[in-house]
């Protein structure tokens, strides 16, 4: 089903770009790809299957049936530490807003997937590297609370470099905040799925990322706790290419499945079907 007009408008604006911007080089096979065609192919290289990083609204449009009602988009960042380095934190975020077209690093809301009502949270690496500050934590907390009230499954797509340095400890506390809302959602017997996309590390993987009932990872995504550079500096040697890939994690038993992007929606639908067949914890108690 095609995306509704308003959603299409929010998708990355391919048309407005200069001719050069209409072409992207695949970092894996080097093929030069026409971006509108790439977009049609869910940002997967048709030659080598490389998965490009997706913007949150592009992702949503490939997953939901049509409707998507956003929540929490009025929660906007402050500057609690009054952070300044080469730029002020508000200035950094201004650049991120212009680059990504987003007000923060996560988009949350409700929609349907094959007619299943779901809560959907989608992180976007193009805003501050998908880092989790107060707004990411608060929007996700609102999503888990609302999903718990509606008793609908929650699917969160992660893409994050970890906690946001510019919000200091308040950023770290979002690991606790999201966990708090996840526990209530899950303990009530609701279904929680994460889809770990490239890259997912630090405070996001070490909180809700790995607290889900089912953990799906997108092909070849880099997933880990410590960043690759940090590990290499610590052990003073180069890591093998495969290290911390979705496939590596599958082999080590950390995740449930690795799925290619074009099969993702169908996979999620099957998971939702299984979950709908059971009885919730809260109903059993009643």
């Amino acid at each position: 089903m095609p995306a509704p007009e308003w959603l299409r408008i929010r998708r990355s604006k391919e048309g407005g770009k200069s001719d050069a911007a209409l072409w992207s080089k695949c970092p894996d096979c080097g093929d030069v790809l026409y971006r509108p065609e790439l977009a049609e192919n869910a940002y997967v290289c048709p030659k080598c299957d490389h998965h490009f990083r997706m913007s949150a609204y592009d992702r949503i449009s490939t997953i939901v049936d049509g409707d998507f009602v956003e929540i929490g988009n009025d929660v906007l960042p402050g500057d609690p530490l009054e952070w300044v380095d080469r730029k002020t934190y508000p200035n950094k975020m201004q650049a991120d807003r212009e680059k990504s077209g987003l007000s923060e690093a996560v988009v949350c809301g409700f929609g349907t997937i094959a007619n299943f009502d779901v809560a959907l949270g989608v992180m976007d690496f193009h805003f501050r590297g998908g880092t989790m500050g107060t707004v990411v934590g608060e929007r996700l907390a609102l999503l888990f609370e609302a999903a718990r009230q509606k008793k609908v499954p929650c699917i969160v797509f992660t893409a994050s470099g970890g906690a946001r340095m510019e919000e200091g400890m308040l950023a770290l506390m979002q690991m606790a905040k999201t966990t708090a809302t996840v526990t209530r959602f899950v303990e009530d017997g609701n279904f929680f799925v994460t889809v770990l996309t490239d890259p997912t590390t630090g405070g996001v993987s070490a909180s809700f990322g790995f607290q889900a009932d089912v953990i799906v990872a997108e092909s070849k995504a880099m997933i880990g706790f410590a960043g690759r550079r940090v590990i290499e500096q610590t052990i003073r040697q180069k890591l093998p290419d495969q290290f911390q890939t979705a496939e590596f994690l599958l082999e080590k038993g950390h995740i449930d499945m690795v799925v290619g992007r074009r099969d993702l929606k169908a996979t999620l639908v099957r998971l939702l079907e299984y979950a709908a067949g059971g009885r919730r914890e809260s109903e059993k108690r009643a």
């Binding site: 929660v75 906007l76 960042p77 402050g78 609690p80 530490l81 952070w83 380095d85 500050g133 107060t134 707004v135 608060e138 907390a141 609102l142 609370e145 718990r148 009230q149 470099g161 906690a163 946001r164 340095m165 200091g168 400890m169 308040l170 770290l172 506390m173 979002q174 690991m175 606790a176 905040k177 966990t179 708090a180 809302t181 526990t183 209530r184 303990e187 630090g202 405070g203 993987s205 070490a206 909180s207 809700f208 990322g209 790995f210 607290q211 997933i223 880990g224 706790f225 410590a226 960043g227 940090v230 590990i231 500096q233 610590t234 052990i235 290290f243 911390q244 080590k252 038993g253 950390h254």
Partner: protein, 326 residues
């Protein structure tokens, strides 16, 4: 190089001279008391001068001081301690020590991150950097405490979770995420004390608590200053600058509502009076447990939820509804 240790070198000279004069004074006919007292006064002046007000970076160094009381110094002063070992799967991580204990006669489950004082002990303790096996031990002990209805008392002292190959292979993220989950739902009082350095998610895994206590010169940060400088500026040598921006001191964190209580340290740091410092911290933990005892399990979990649910600073036109029913 620890800037606090460097500064103490000058003071050590003075301490030695005072001690020498004292010994000499006992065996000499001439009374040297005035000289000694003058020197002591000077010593106190220098102490105030050097340690009266510390910058964030100086506090980072204070928190890492090799002489600073570590978790085992606190655990060693409990009425009784019976260590419980291992993650029941793979290994016993010595960067975490835990077990049953009596604190002022009260049975508790105690869990602490343990760094070493010298190279040999640091290798055994992995510099206080906990591996997934260690976090699984923490998780197991927290569940045990919940099961038996015993309060959980934790001591936090780590630069961060272990960033090695084996830790990634053994799912460090999952191990920490499960600790956060367990501490959030534990139906028993939890009191966490940041005794040295609290570094990132590796520290938070032991620090979701009803009462969070910090020593006056402890630090608690989203990332180590070195890590933050590397992440933001690609240069870990800019750690001092990062420390000044991160708002990682006990005083900053009390202001943000992240820390509930700050326990004062003697002038010059907790290691100048280790025994007294340990006594004060244990008394603060005992008092917190006394207060939390009045709350039932339901209320405890509810209050803990509300505390973490509201943390953060953001802008919105709407007054956000905080869910209250559990």
């Amino acid at each position: 190089m620890n800037v606090i240790v460097e500064r103490e070198k000058g003071l050590l000279e003075l301490e030695k001279r005072i001690a020498e004069l004292r010994t000499a004074n006992e065996s000499q006919p001439v009374d040297m008391a005035p000289e000694i007292s003058a020197l002591e006064q000077k010593y106190q002046e220098i102490l105030r001068d050097v340690f009266g007000s510390l910058t964030p970076w100086e506090k980072v160094n204070m928190a890492r001081h090799p002489g600073r009381p570590t978790s085992l110094d606190y655990i060693g002063r409990l009425d009784r301690f019976d260590e419980l070992h291992g993650d029941r799967h793979f290994r016993d991580d010595h960067a975490v020590v835990g077990g049953f204990a009596l604190l002022h006669g009260r049975p508790v489950v105690v869990i602490g991150q343990q760094r070493g004082r010298d190279t040999k002990e640091n290798l055994r303790r992995n510099f206080g950097m906990v591996t997934p096996e260690g976090y699984r031990k923490v998780n197991r002990l927290a569940k045990l405490a919940s099961h038996l209805g015993l309060p959980i008392v934790t001591f936090v002292d780590t630069k961060g979770a272990d960033p090695g190959i084996s830790s990634e292979e053994h799912a460090q993220s999952e191990a920490i995420a499960r600790c956060l989950y367990e501490f959030t739902i534990a139906r028993v009082p939890i009191v966490a004390t940041i005794v040295g350095e609290g570094g990132s998610g590796g520290a938070l895994a032991l620090a979701i608590a009803d009462t969070v206590i910090m020593l006056e010169h402890s630090v608690y940060s989203v990332a180590s200053p070195e890590g933050c400088a590397a992440i933001l500026w690609g240069d870990s040598t800019k750690a001092e600058e990062a420390a000044s921006r991160l708002k990682l001191t006990a005083q900053d964190l009390e202001r943000f509502g992240i820390v509930d209580e700050v326990v004062p340290e003697p002038l010059g740091g907790a290691h100048r009076d280790s025994s007294g410092s340990v006594t004060r911290v244990l008394a603060a933990i005992d008092a917190a447990l006394g207060r939390l005892k009045a709350l039932g399990p339901q209320k405890l979990v509810e209050e803990r939820y509300r505390k973490y649910r509201r943390l953060g600073v953001w802008q919105t036109e709407r007054r956000e509804p905080i869910e209250t029913s559990s």
